[in-house]
């Protein structure tokens, strides 16, 4: 199904947010996630189901002022 990850439309087979992260090579990375504009805690990724057209944001620490 088509999922938009960080603004890029991708074809993903993963059923859950955790599965999407694994499929996209984020294993072991320090990241936080949001789905359709709502924060999804790390512990909830396994049970967060994805649907066609969902928008995922995956962020990491970065320099800031």
């Amino acid at each position: 199904m088509k999922i938009i990850v960080n603004g890029v439309e991708l074809e993903l087979g993963a059923a859950t947010l955790a599965g999407a992260l694994e499929a996209l090579d984020y294993a072991g990375a320090v990241v936080a996630t949001a789905l359709n504009g709502h924060f999804i805690a790390a512990r909830a990724r396994e049970t967060t189901l994805l649907a066609e057209g969902d928008k995922i944001e995956i962020v990491a620490p970065r320099q800031g002022g």
Binding site: L24, P61, R62, Q63, G64, G65
Partner: protein, 257 residues
Amino acid sequence: MEFYGVEIASRLLLGTAQYPSPAILADAVRAAEVEIVTVSLRRESGRLREGQDFWSLVRHLGLRVLPNTAGCHSVKEAVTTAQMAREIFATNWIKLEVIGEADTLQPDVFGLVEAARILSEDGFAVFPYTTEDLVVAERLVEAGCKVLMPWGAPIGSGKGLNNPFGLRALRAHFPDIPLVVDAGIGLPSHAAGAMELGYDAVLLNTAVAKAGDPVAMARAFAGAVEAGRAAYLAGPMEARDMAAPSTPVFGKPVLAR
């Protein structure tokens, strides 16, 4: 000085962006003996993992981090960003920015108060990036903020303290709340000026990161902050419009014919 019950010795807070290299950032932070640095969250690629090295560096420095919500223009964006930051940085501290105008990066103070209330009720320790407006400051305190961070001038402008009168009034109005001048500071003299007004600390980034020698400039800012604080505690004289001779007039010999 305490921020939300945490004792902080260094009154200079530094941003971590725009340095020529990670090594220079690390050297600048060490040179100024900074305890708190600001950080942000940005999109991460699973392949490139650009944020992971930066996070390793910050953790290695052993500093307390103050995550920001930079670039957020709505309450929802800011709240969601804060929630992500709390998880990733393992802190409930958040430098809350809700930007209202693109050219000046002026805070949307209405959205700021709303977001501050939501986040405070959710257990965050909110450091709001605000203006020097007294009424907005009152609302922020009512919303749960125990620190206020008024701007000196627009972010990255380096113009210093645009409204010393307003900043002085804010200090007088909130004698017991930690006040930090955040944004617009371009020179150590600006930082010293803020401290001479009785501000508890200053937060800056560009003035150090974009200096010809960021490490030397970080050191200069640390000295200025210390001098400004010492001057405030020493009790500066009142300014006056007319001259007043410092050398005694009495006893001056009469030499004119």
